[in-house]
Amino acid sequence: MEPLDYNKLLDNYYEGLTSVADENKLRSYLKQYDGDNPELLEAKMLFGALDAEKSETLDLDFERFFEPKQPTKIRKMLIYMGSIAAAAVIVLSVNFMLRVTEKPVIYAYINGEPISDKEVAIEYSKQAMKNLSVQFNKGTENLSCMSTLNKPAILLKSIKQ
């Protein structure tokens, strides 16, 4: 059996053409190699470093990064208050919009100008009715003999009918 050509095996390793078994053979050989072939010495150092890295352990717990944060009391309070503030803003905005778009009630028109002031409109209403009543007064001041007159009663009767 011919001795293994480790130089050629090393070349194959660098090319990625070695099997796991060949790699292990190469590793074992290089571990106890004490020759002066520069390529083999360099490979020995490489394999030694790789083996050292393999044995290293990481004590960082990655799982901790994926755990959901438990809400603190302050965070809960902030979320709650934020919700209330948002709801209040919406309600006030809608209310404001409704008031802005709400048309004022027009109780009267004076010389064509609309009057939305209740007090002013009431005064004008009273004046109008008083105006009517004053004129009525002129017509009915001396109606003491009304009960004996037929014509107005007949007129009223015909209107009622």
């Binding site: 009630v105 009267a108 004076i110 010389n111 009431i122 109008a128 105006n131 009543s133 007064n137 107005p152």
Partner: protein
């Protein structure tokens, strides 16, 4: 149809002069009467009763800033409208140079319009009430305004 046309004529006259220089117009809307209906004061119950059913009160006057020709023309225009057969004479009052004419228009069962025109050389007036009008309402309206003698008119109606 004729009634509708007639009512619109009176409103047409009102709209023609409303807001014009020298003329004073007052138009009380139904919202005012709705307001009266919401009054809680018992003393205003009469006011509420008399305004119930009313749709509008309109007043139009020609002031003394206008010349006599304009005032005469204004009164003539009003008289032409209310002299139509659909307006029935209710009462005519003559007081010196002033003549006050009351007219009503009905739809057979109810009075829908009550009109008062004042032929005053200094200030002719048109006042009309639209709505569901009861003569009693008019009588009560005048009564609440301290009308003298009109209570007799109420008694006459009650006897019918």
């Amino acid at each position: 149809m004729l009634s509708m046309a007639q009512e619109s004529q009176l409103n047409v006259v009102f709209d023609k002069y409303s807001g014009q220089e020298g003329y004073t117009s007052v138009y009380i809307t139904s919202y005012m009467f709705e307001l009266f209906s919401k009054l809680d004061d018992e003393s205003d119950q009469d006011l509420e009763n008399m305004t119930k059913g009313l749709k509008a009160i309109k007043i139009l006057t020609a002031g003394d800033k206008l010349d006599s020709k304009a005032r005469d023309a204004f009164y003539q225009e009003i008289s032409k409208v209310v002299s139509q057969p659909i307006y029935k004479d209710f009462m005519i009052v003559k007081d010196g140079k002033q003549e006050i004419v009351f007219k009503v228009r009905d739809n057979g069962s109810k009075i829908t319009e009550f009109v008062m025109t004042v032929n005053d050389p200094l200030e002719p007036v048109l006042l009309y009430i639209l709505g569901d009008i009861d003569i009693k309402q008019i009588a009560k309206m005048s009564k609440s305004m301290d009308v003298k003698g009109f209570d007799k008119l109420q008694k006459v109606e009650e006897k019918q």
